[in-house]
Symmetry: C2
Subunit: 242 residues, 2 copies
DNA sequence: AAGTGGTCTAGACCACTAT
DNA sequence: TAGTGGTCTAGACCACTTC
């Protein structure tokens, strides 16, 4: 059945993905674009948009003049760094049954680093939410999100364990558009180590990032810490012309 | 002047980028797509493709119904992780004048890890190239690339200091298409520390990656080490549907 | 030479934002 | 309500791979 929303392109994309997972394409060869267009009753442009997204995700690859093929190697990648939006989802993708625990949830004066990241003044306040993501009883990810207090539209804020992008929509009426993330290696300090259930000085990865909303305004300053023994990040790097 | 190659889209992209850097757009507002199409004498599709690429790179952002705008924050990002193709380029983008030193260049029996990454047998051989990238006399990046010996088409291999993707084109007739990279925090061992000019145990970042050619075959296994005090990586993370 | 993906056009209509 | 970006169509021609 054809409907708008999700877009035709996304429906086509989902359809092809399903075919791939059901092994419907022999030899990993995906039908020509013209054939797909005719079979699915959409234009070739729509097909190409869908294939373009799948290629970008690493699910397929295309070779001009030759064809379009399933990318077996690309399909193995569990969670691609560029696409991470929720750590619960990341842990699920790794086959875990994640739990979330809110450690801190309070409004505090902003510190210097956060003030700069969120373009605030020294006297302003931020809501600080610290969460830990666990697999069973084992902590895997520790996050600290800081949201300008002025953005909080609602007094009542239950469901503090929402993913931050949902939290921002629900309580701040802001839609998160993208993050700029810096990747930093760390040796966990005593506090971090305790919260992550490892020895002080254990090696790990951290992200320092700023999330921007659809108006391109910074709305959240996040720092995240990962147990390298339980979670490894991958990404696909491509050449982008000029 | 209109020519093919580079594509119209890339020409449009370059043009808009230039306008941005020359501050030609008041208030950071980029003209409507229809206007751009008419002014540049191309179709709106071509304009949209170019804007789409610029948006993906973080140079602009778009808001449906409102317009297209310059992304000042995005333009500050020096080298985006997803787009890294040459460490010389990365260092240049950071304002350094990079030098490259080839430390090792020899054909050796493949080790287990590389054999698995490149789908080789235990008895096969690989060309191992170890390079260090310096700013002046200061090492910043240490890389180790391994290429299957069977791919080497030419006996004479001068210019060992070529970026690996150019090396593969020149001596193996393979075009690098993308890398799958794993990001790992490390404490440098004695050997790495010496080559990077830091104390043993210093914290740093490393990439473990496999490069694939246009036939989606693994052609290079690379490990890279970075001095966190001199080089930080950033990337843009976005939500991708489904 | 046949078949495939890559680029480009011209135009229609929709969804959303601003005023 | 006017103007903007988002989606989609139908079709043309080009570049490349394969046989």
């Amino acid at each position: 059945m054809i409907t708008r929303n999700p877009s035709l392109t996304d429906q086509v994309k989902a359809h092809i993905k399903e075919q791939i997972f059901n092994d419907e394409y022999e030899d990993g060869r995906i039908p020509p674009e013209a054939t797909l267009a005719e079979d699915l009753g959409v234009s070739r442009t729509t097909i190409r948009d869908a294939l373009g997204k799948l290629e970008h995700e690493g699910a397929i690859y295309r070779k001009q003049g030759a064809g379009t093929f399933v990318n077996e190697a690309g399909l193995q990648i569990k969670s691609r760094l560029e696409e991470i939006w929720s750590y619960e989802q990341v842990l699920q993708d790794h086959g875990y049954k994640p739990a979330v625990k809110v450690l801190t949830d309070e409004i505090l004066p902003v510190n210097e680093e956060t003030a700069e990241a969120l373009e605030l003044d020294g006297g302003d306040e931020v809501l600080v939410i610290e969460k830990v993501f666990l697999e069973g009883a084992t902590p895997v990810v520790l996050t600290r999100n800081r949201i300008p207090a002025t953005l909080l539209a609602v007094k009542e804020r239950r469901r503090k364990n929402l993913p931050i992008y949902e939290y921002l929509e629900e309580y701040c009426d802001r839609r998160l558009s993208y993050y700029v993330s810096e990747i930093v290696p760390v040796a966990f300090d005593a506090d971090q180590a305790r919260k992550l259930g490892v020895k002080k000085g254990t090696l790990g990865l951290s992200f320092i990032e700023v999330g921007f909303d659809t108006n391109n305004e910074p709305v959240v300053h996040a720092t995240s810490y990962f147990r390298d023994d339980l979670l490894r990040f991958r990404l696909i790097r491509r050449k982008t012309g000029a």
